[in-house]
Symmetry: C2
């Protein structure tokens, strides 16, 4: 698209209250806008990044036979009362009454609502397993709504839920989803650890968190420097520098500044017991359904990507999540429109800086926005195009065919 | 995908409380599930249809240079109070307080929130026009939440907003959007009228509704049988049978049972006046921004499609919005898996009925779900495949190549 039409313009200054890097850079570059504490509009650039993140997640969810759907956000009190959770997270749930006095809670999470849907539709072992997910909005009245888009009061979540006839089937699927999550976070280029966390009241097993390292976050984990052992601070009982309890060879290292981008829970039969979710097994007996839930926060993922990939000039997007494939910069004498048309015809997603501003302003905006490949056309480049990557100082003069070949088009 | 895995199974019986056709058929066929009055889960089949509807809308929005984004659903009272609308639609707005007493309203519509975003980012005539849209959730406490998915309390909306420096620019864009809406509803195969409606407090011009005819709805319009004159019942001052006030040649006809699937509003400067939304014009003067808003309800569109396209056996989807391109029915002796793989490899979106149930059950489910093309493989079809369309009694034996060629693959 034409940058002259892109809404909104970049900003020279970060908001006064912004402390975290993602807050400063995403607002300055025009990816997000704050409506109120913890509540953000995804502006056109930010929306594009989140759509690309979501598509990566969607492909890996579909690969484990999960089915996409969309569940409501306004939930009746009655269903949340069945598990006792109506009162549990009272402080951070948004509750309301309609004009007739009927009470609701805004989607804090969806376990109860999925369970209600399942019990209306699952009668027999032949109806299991079921695996469904959606991308939708969650509302949590976090006392500390800060860290930019890392901790919102209203935020996007991909939540997957699975129901099974046996514990073994649940745990086999749990491992499949753990592997799908590894693929997702690898595709997002994160340096992350799969970290054991408490099972809480739900299970005597561990749950797992996916923690991105060195991401400016508030989480602390303990990992082995040799094997894949990793636990969060709530459950780790050893000390930094000790031998690893798993491999015995490595040493335990403390990692601060982690950000949790995903978590998975083998919830067992806790929900089915409270919500009366039975199925008829092969032998004709009534059995409780085994249940798991699995979350990723796409908007938090976007913020974390900025925390781990930026420099003093701006954001550095990886190609797989960049808002555009290339940033075409037109300087005086360059055939911008012609190259723009040819790139679009070749299937390249282009942001074309067609604005009448100085070269310096164009380059500093391009650095701030962070599209990985910059193409420059000017009076000097003739029938060639200058190719420069966001992370390199080097630039090269290439033909149009060389450009599309490098872009793998 | 394999039908044995599809969630949920079809139902023989419609819900007792269901009156409208879309309610009965969409629930029986497994497209939607009711959480509470006016609140629906889009199940995997329904989600697929809505995604296809949304993609048609998205393409036509992008074609008029609108930019997709995503705005929050929880809105602060302060912003809604600026226009006085906090108190106006009190009965059908969902309002709430958080634990600190701060007041909010759930997204009833987004004019105020978009205006707030614009006034933070628009300073000069050079920043205009702006045209932004999103697909998101609206909450309206309708007293009558019935008619299936036609009238929900929580429902999906595509809402577009545009801001302009002059009335002329707003009205030119308004006509472009009207034309884009015509394209969308033509692509959805609707028999519809563009109907004049009152401008209310916003404008002395008309607003426009897009009304689908013979759709089992509650709206009544008056149209000319010769020209494109059409007005809704609130503003039409003549009588049925009179000469058309526009072309003078045709006669006025009353149409009952219409469903409004879209509406567009040239809101003028009403919002800018109340919210202090000024820009600096070329001459240095401060001027009010001209504003318009434009809505389509994708979930209501899905319900309306069912109302106008079904028979006694079930739904009849048009190919452009069908949940799958083809329904592959495997009967004993048929090479279902082989044909399924080949179709998928050819890029066809297939629902493969791999279930071990009778042929009768497979055919009646296929009629109910309503995918436009049915392919049957059995011991009798040999190395050919039987092609039967949902709306035809005729069936033909075709080769795989003939099938893909007919599907335009």
């Amino acid at each position: 698209m034409k940058q002259s039409q892109l809404f909104p313009k970049t900003r020279k200054e970060a908001p006064k209250e912004a402390v975290s890097i993602n807050h400063k850079l995403l607002v300055r570059a025009g990816f997000i806008d704050q409506l109120m504490a913890g509540s953000w509009t995804l502006l056109p650039l930010g929306f594009r990044v989140v759509q690309k993140i979501n598509q990566i997640i969607r492909e890996e969810m579909n690969a484990v036979d999960a089915q996409e759907m969309l569940m409501p956000l306004l939930h009746p009190k009655e269903i949340w009362s069945e598990t006792g959770r109506w009162d549990k997270a009272d402080e951070i749930m948004y509750k309301l009454k309609d004009v007739h006095g009927k009470e609701y809670v805004l989607s804090f999470t969806h376990e109860e609502i999925v369970m209600d849907l399942l019990r209306k539709n699952i009668k027999s072992y032949q109806d299991l397993p079921v695996s469904v997910y959606h991308f939708s909005t969650k509302f949590r009245h976090e006392p500390r709504a800060r860290s930019g888009i890392l901790r919102g009061r209203e935020f996007m979540m991909k939540d997957l839920y699975s129901a099974h006839a046996t514990e073994k089937d649940l745990m086999d699927y749990y491992e499949k989803v753990k592997e799908a999550y590894r693929k997702i976070f690898n595709r997002l280029s994160f340096n992350f650890k799969v970290v054991e966390a408490s099972g809480g009241v739900f299970t005597d097993k561990f749950t797992h968190e996916f923690q991105v390292l060195d991401a400016g976050g508030e989480d602390i984990i303990y990992t082995c420097d040799k094997c894949d052992f990793a636990q969060n601070r709530e459950i780790f009982e050893g000390k930094e520098g000790e031998s690893c309890p798993k491999c015995k060879e490595g040493k335990i290292v403390k990692k601060e500044g982690c950000v949790e981008v995903g978590n998975i829970f083998p919830l067992g039969t806790w929900y089915a017991e409270r919500m009366g979710m039975y199925f008829t097994d092969k032998d004709g007996g009534k059995k409780l359904v085994w249940f798991g839930s699995y979350g990723i926060g796409p908007t938090r993922v976007m913020g974390t990507l900025v925390e781990v990939s930026h420099d003093e000039k701006g954001i550095i997007w990886h190609p797989q999540v960049a808002p555009f494939d290339v940033h075409l910069i037109e300087l005086p004498g360059g055939h911008g429109e012609e190259v723009y048309r040819k790139l679009k015809d070749a299937g390249v997603d282009v942001l074309w800086d067609d604005r009448e501003v100085s070269a310096g302003e164009k380059f500093s905006d391009a650095d701030l926005i962070g599209i990985p490949v910059r193409l420059i056309v000017s009076g000097k480049t003739g029938d060639k195009i200058e190719w420069k990557e966001r992370t390199s100082e080097k630039s090269e003069l290439l033909s149009f065919e060389e450009i599309t070949s490098r872009l793998n088009i």
